[in-house]
Amino acid sequence: MENLPRILSVLGDGLPETVIATLGGIVLTIVLSFGAGLLLLSPWRVVRGVTRVYVEGFRGTSEVVQLFWIYFVLPVLVGYQLVPLVAGIAVLGLNHGAYGAEIVRGAIRSVPRAQYEGAIALSLSPAQRMRRVILPQALVEMLPPLNNLFIQLLKSSSILALITVPEVTRQAREVLIPNFGDDTFLIFGVVFVVYLLLAAVITAIMRWIERWAARRLGRRPVRQRKVLEEVAV
């Protein structure tokens, strides 16, 4: 236990990288989820097709392969080497955005057709229909699965260790294990707690947003069973 302060300080050095990677990944995921999710519902076949290729391409391959591809292969093709953290954020966002696109698409499609018709009867334009009527209702449906997706993303941020980003997992593996080998349990105990806490923070924020969104619908927040709609990465 006497090494606990040093273990905490080494992991603390990695915490900003984990948090930045996760936050950056989440922001990119949100942008891509909504962008691709809406494009998947486009009336134009070609647009849907191209978006499908993105979604299936990233869902169909391993995240580690995507990471290595962007970090090692892309520089050869375009002649520009991404900083590891940036490459990592790009992969976290691209990968989870592909899953998020399906969540957004499904939530929009779950809004009853009657709501579209009500909006048409008020002569709202297609953009107004989407923004004012459909999306606010779809949002309530997509928040619980997005929460799961963001937790997956937090967990995935650990693979940035494989391309030398000094985040929490890499700090544990490369700094702590070689130096404090006797404290294996303590080291991993602390690492587990760090991820549990970060996951709890994400869930707390998402629950707060869920309550806010549900209030806007005049509903009590209904927390669905998260299992069957869980998005596995």
């Binding site: 169909g60 391993s62 290595f68 991993f188 991820y195 996951a199 596995a232």
Partner: protein, 218 residues
Amino acid sequence: MPLWDWSYAFSILPDLLLALVTTIEITVLGSVVALLLGLVIAVLRRARIPVLDQVLWAFVELVRSTPLLVQVFFLFFALPRFGIELSAFVIGVLALGVHYATYTSEVYRAGIDAVPQGQWEAATALSLPRSRVWTGVVLPQAIPRVLPALGNYVISMFKEVPLLLAIGVVEVVNEARELGSETFRYVEPYTIAGVLFLLLSYPASLLVRRLERRRVSA
């Protein structure tokens, strides 16, 4: 030098395919662990045995909320301290299997909860023994319902096998890395690795989606 060299690509294909076999082996063995252990956890939790229930809940939440890579490292470094020396391959199977067992246990649980209460009552009214209620009445109704969800997790496991390169398992991506480092050509190995994953997991997920649709319409 061309960006893509076909003859090089073909020359490394056999090695990559061989490594793919390892990836598939780990996926299959890990799935067996995940599907069986998950079922055991789900059935035990349904019994609501005090203490054991809380312990299982905490275990499931801990494993689900923390990175698989950290768990892989944990098993890799902690087991030897108990005098348990396992190969990286076996540790990989265990880590994947246990990690995904926590997911499959929740899936089984949802499937079990979806079996109507009347089924339990009817089984009780027939005085069926507890084990027969499970094997003869509840699970045959619960499991078909959740097969698509379980299938999705098996596909997810397949895609997570490359994490094991961190402890030296020679699966596809690790093989690609080694091939690349011999020749300093990374474009072909990593691209082929990606294509191999896509070629297997995309048809598999189409299959699962078809299964899903059939369940919904049935």
